[in-house]
């Protein structure tokens, strides 16, 4: 393996073409990045760590949605409901079955997969906007279920969850829980990156690109559409369970349609069909309210603030920022941050002779 790639394509085998790390340096860069993140709790405050944790678990859920939307071309407007189901499932498993939290998280992922498969059954037959509408219905039905199923969710009062423990090590602070989320992020992202190199992953992409041709090549459409829905639900469930054991409280109202739309926004902003893009999109969406808040703080007390009552209406401003960002990205950068990142890399690869 070389340190740099020469200009042009010199791949002679499929193995070389499919590799995740094209050069030695890109592999080192990843290891250094992970090492730096491992040191983050030493350098950052609790608030910044909290943001990183949030980026981590929303990133996992967004990656699941990206596998569904970006790789398989199926649309889901109910992702937050599945995310919420994972959160409640993990809390419920711990309280009633007395399973340790460390095991609850993957089990919650599996339970969410089962629920996702039930709603995914129509997905086997539906595509495009019909599926979008079906998942919209799933969102409302699950939200109603959360409010109704007191035994499962604690009803309107919500459910208190226990912190993550592993062999006596308690992760009840940002500094310790950060490592739990980091481990999950690495495992889930590596799994997704590898999934796309297998036959199943390529089948998903084929279903997206031209499902009729895919079917003629022997790809079972119903199977792969349902599979993709199941994988997306699994990722949502894991993300939700991590959320539950971070906040230590799960409320019924948290998983509304706006949150679902935010997940879709992350996928669009990050880049459809890009694994790392999902993380970038999640980071963008988590940091967007912070930027809006900072902007409002900068204007606070001024004439603009008094005239527009920004301080009192900051939550609406955030929602408007989400909507506007989604539209602006769709019009001006439809391939998302992942493409921008590739362009930046390409620019430096060819630097001083970029033309």
């Amino acid at each position: 393996m070389t340190a740099m790639i020469p200009a042009g394509e010199y791949h002679a085998t499929y193995r070389e073409d499919m590799t995740i790390f094209p050069t030695r340096n890109s592999r080192y860069a990843l290891w250094i990045g992970i090492a730096l993140l491992c040191l983050a709790p030493l350098a950052l405050g609790r608030y910044e760590l909290g943001l990183l944790i949030t980026i981590g678990f929303t990133g996992i859920a967004a990656l699941g949605l990206n596998i569904l939307v970006g790789f398989t071309g199926q649309i889901s407007i109910g992702h937050a409901a599945f995310f919420g189901f994972g959160a409640f499932a993990s809390a419920w498993l711990h309280e009633y079955a007395h399973i340790p939290v460390a095991l609850c998280i993957p089990l919650a992922g599996l339970m969410t997969t089962a629920v996702g498969m039930i709603f995914g059954l129509p997905a086997a037959r539906l595509k495009g906007l019909y599926l979008a509408i079906a998942t919209l219905a799933a969102q409302f039905i699950l939200e109603d279920f959360f409010a109704r199923a007191q035994w499962f969710t604690g009803g309107v009062a919500g459910r208190i969850t226990e912190p993550f423990t592993l062999f006596g090590w308690v992760a009840d602070r940002e500094e310790s829980y950060f490592y739990v989320v980091l481990a999950y992020v690495i495992v889930m992202f590596v799994a997704a990156a590898n999934l796309m190199r297998t036959r199943d992953g390529r089948a998903l992409v084929a279903v997206r690109d031209h499902y009729l041709s895919a079917e003629m090549m022997g790809i079972n459409l119903a199977y792969y559409r349902t599979l993709s829905f199941g994988i997306a639900s699994f990722y949502a469930g894991i993300g939700g369970a991590l959320y539950a054991h971070y906040l230590l409280f799960v409320s019924v109202e948290a998983f509304n349609i706006l949150y679902s739309i935010q997940f879709l926004g992350m996928v669009i902003i990050g880049g459809l069909g890009s694994v790392m893009g999902s993380l970038m999109g999640a980071a963008f969406m988590v940091l967007l309210p912070e930027v809006v808040q900072a902007g409002a703080d900068a204007l606070a007390g001024g004439a603009v603030d008094r005239a527009l009552k920004i301080g009192a209406n900051i939550s609406f401003l955030r929602e408007m920022a989400i909507g506007a960002t989604i539209i602006l990205f769709l019009i001006f950068e439809p391939d998302g941050l992942a493409r921008r990142w590739r362009l930046i890399k390409a620019y430096w690869k060819l630097y001083p002779y970029s033309h």
């Binding site: 906007l129 979008a132 509408i133 109704r148 669009i268 019009i331």
Partner: protein, 297 residues
């Protein structure tokens, strides 16, 4: 069985259903003409109702003037949305277009909350008599008016698409864009017009609901309720949209009755249409009157 109550609920269902039908029709209009699934349909109701409310209360205009200004504003609003947001997305995948309308929806909902606040605000009184009696049932005057307006709009649509030149151009575009273009129909103009008409018709529905229940962001939920209606009727059928709207209106009232009498689950009024939606998608995804999409390679 409480027959008078059931009858009253059915009547309420038909009246609300007619409004759903009107909103569903304007949704189908956009879908047929430009193949865009408009997730911001409810926000058209919301924006229209708030603009009308603002003109009537802050500017003290008489109802007819405020209403006409609202319609004029909504025409512009629909055209601007189509030209600025949807036109650059022509030819993009379904997901992009859906996401753009969803983004529009959140944006305008939040903007309206910012400008007008989160609490429901009543319209100034418009009619002298609040309720009238029809066949022994008490009906609010506005409801009667809304039923009348709905029927008028539906007849207007029927006339527009059968006889008027623009309506025929729109049908031609919906049937085959390239053929329509080669016959001298300006497709961009048809797209803009369909959004304008849709926005205006939705705003009428929004004002009617606003007069009945007061104006609040709850209005935008009509845009979500439209989905069960249009899927039931078939996504590209105007007649189906009207029937679907009526059925959904009656269905939710019956579900509420069933719930109150026997089930006691609560919230069935809102959720029942979505269960129906999933069932329809499983059994007959193209709805009652929708065109079956047969695909060949």
């Amino acid at each position: 069985m409480d027959w008078p109550l059931l009858l009253q609920l059915t009547l309420n269902g038909l009246i609300v259903g007619a409004l759903y039908g009107v909103v569903a029709m304007s949704f189908v209009l956009i879908y047929k003409a430009s193949q865009v699934v408009n997730f911001a349909q409810g926000e058209f109701l919301l924006v229209g109702a708030w603009v009308c409310w603002w003109l009537l209360t802050d500017w003290q205009l008489p109802f007819w003037a405020g209403f006409l200004f609202t319609l004029a504003f909504m025409t512009l609003f629909g055209i601007i949305i189509q030209v600025v947001v949807l036109r650059p997305l022509i030819g993009e995948p379904v997901i992009s277009v859906i996401m753009a309308t969803i983004g529009l929806g959140i944006f305008f909902q939040a903007l309206m909350k910012w400008i007008f606040g989160v609490f429901a605000k009543p319209f100034p009184p418009i009619f002298a008599a609040d309720q009238v009696s029809v066949l022994g049932l008490q009906v609010q005057t506005v409801y009667l008016l809304s039923l009348g307006i709905s029927v008028l709009i539906m007849l207007g649509f029927a006339w527009f698409f059968t006889f008027s030149k623009h309506g025929l151009a729109m049908r031609a575009t919906a049937f085959d864009q390239q053929v329509a273009q080669s016959l001298g129909v300006s497709v961009p103009k048809v797209f803009a017009m369909s959004w304008a008409i849709s926005a205006v018709v939705s705003a009428v529905a929004g004002v009617v609901v606003g007069v009945v229940n007061g104006v609040s962001s709850a209005l935008s939920f009509y845009g979500i309720k439209v989905f069960p209606a249009v899927i039931l009727g078939g996504l590209d059928s105007i007649l189906g949209a009207v029937l679907g709207g009526l059925i959904v209106g009656v269905l939710e009232n019956w579900a509420q009755y069933l719930d109150a009498e026997w089930l006691n689950w609560g919230n069935m009024y809102t959720i029942a249409p979505f269960y129906a939606l999933i069932l329809i998608l499983l059994i007959k995804p193209y709805g009652l009157f929708g065109t079956k999409n047969i695909e060949r390679v």
